[in-house]
């Protein structure tokens, strides 16, 4: 979802039940360079998704966090459907709470084809409808 209430992408398949979107990333010079190539800068960096990472939330008074090592394994995948034209910036830095090395990822792009909507929350359904009306 974008900050203007539109759908950016939908997760249509994932071999993992959890991808972290709470704990951000450390400042990353290479990511900033990639942003710069497209006219973006530090001010455009907001919260990122840490695909394949899990930081568990405890049911305690502060919702304490603990990094879960070995959450993902070689061969795990996540598949996104772009709901509008997107630029996606990917950095394979290790998770900020991990003491392990970074691992590479393979990124595959498939040409657009019709993909049925998965079961979505009401908010997501509205966002998709508005987005489709805008780009139609």
């Amino acid at each position: 979802m974008s900050d203007r209430g539109l759908a950016l992408a939908t997760v249509i398949a994932s071999t993992l039940d959890w991808h972290d979107c709470l704990t951000g990333a450390l400042p990353d010079r290479l990511l900033l360079l990639e942003l710069a190539k497209h006219g973006f800068a530090e001010a455009d960096l907001h919260g990122c998704i840490n695909f394949f990472s899990k930081v568990a939330v405890a049911d305690d008074p502060r919702a304490s966090l603990a990094y879960v090592p070995d959450h993902a394994h070689a061969g795990d995948t996540v598949t996104l459907r772009a709901d509008q034209d997107l630029l996606i910036f990917v950095s394979t830095a290790p998770h900020a709470l991990s003491d392990g090395p970074a691992a590479g990822v393979a990124v595959q792009l498939e040409s657009p084809s019709h993909v049925e909507d998965p079961v979505l929350r009401e908010e997501a359904v509205r966002a998709l409808r508005l987005t489709r009306e805008l780009i139609a």
Binding site: G24, A43, L65
Partner: protein, 205 residues
């Protein structure tokens, strides 16, 4: 508590749905008082000398290894600087993942009829403009006094508040700061007890 020789530099009431841009010098203490209870106060912090060095919810959450903010929480910037520390808190916990309402998010959450209701995004833009803070600089904010339980299964809901009349939270600036505040006008969920009310800002520096 040690009382140091400071003067009351700020004492003002922010009406429901209004906002403020407050310049807080390093060492200054800013207190936000929930005058009537259950009022979400959407707040962003910026390094006053470089607004691109701004509050980062994600770096703050990661560095303290906990989602909720309370006394002792260090408010960390995108460059991993400490902007401020929460030094007093009679409410108990504060949210920083629920975000600020906008006209656009209201439409997808609650329906088309909310499109022209006032929202925190408008207040942030109005008061931020005088410091050069615009759309690009609006990032994930703190919701003081707001209750957004996050569960071990990844659930997140906006619930009725934990706050009460007279509860307050106080931050001490670690460097010269702008505090950009929107006293949330939201009436479509219980974050303001369905009834937005005024807050008081007190500052000592």
């Amino acid at each position: 508590m040690t009382i140091t020789a400071t003067t009351v530099a700020l004492d003002s009431v922010v009406e429901a749905g209004d906002g403020a841009l407050v310049s807080v010098p390093a060492g200054g203490r800013l207190r936000i008082v929930d005058l009537h209870g259950n009022q979400a106060v959407d707040t962003l912090f910026y390094d006053a000398h470089d607004i691109d060095n701004r509050y980062s919810a994600f770096d703050t959450i990661r560095e303290q290894r906990a989602v909720f903010l309370t006394t002792g929480s260090r408010l960390i910037s995108t460059r991993l600087d400490e902007l401020a520390v929460i030094t007093d808190d009679t409410c108990g916990r504060h949210d920083t993942v629920g975000g600020a309402c906008s006209q656009e998010s209201n439409v997808i959450r609650y329906g088309e009829f909310t499109r022209h209701q006032h929202a925190c995004r408008q207040t942030f833009l109005r008061y931020g403009a005088q410091a050069g803070i615009g759309q690009r600089q609006l990032t994930h904010n703190i919701n003081f006094f707001m209750n957004v339980p996050v569960t071990s299964t990844g659930g997140l809901t906006f619930e009725d508040g934990l706050s009460a009349p007279g509860k307050y939270v106080e931050v001490t600036a670690s460097r010269d700061l702008f505090a950009l505040i929107s006293n949330c006008p939201q009436v479509n969920n219980p974050c303001n007890g369905w009834d937005p009310t005024p807050i008081q800002l007190l500052g000592w520096w």
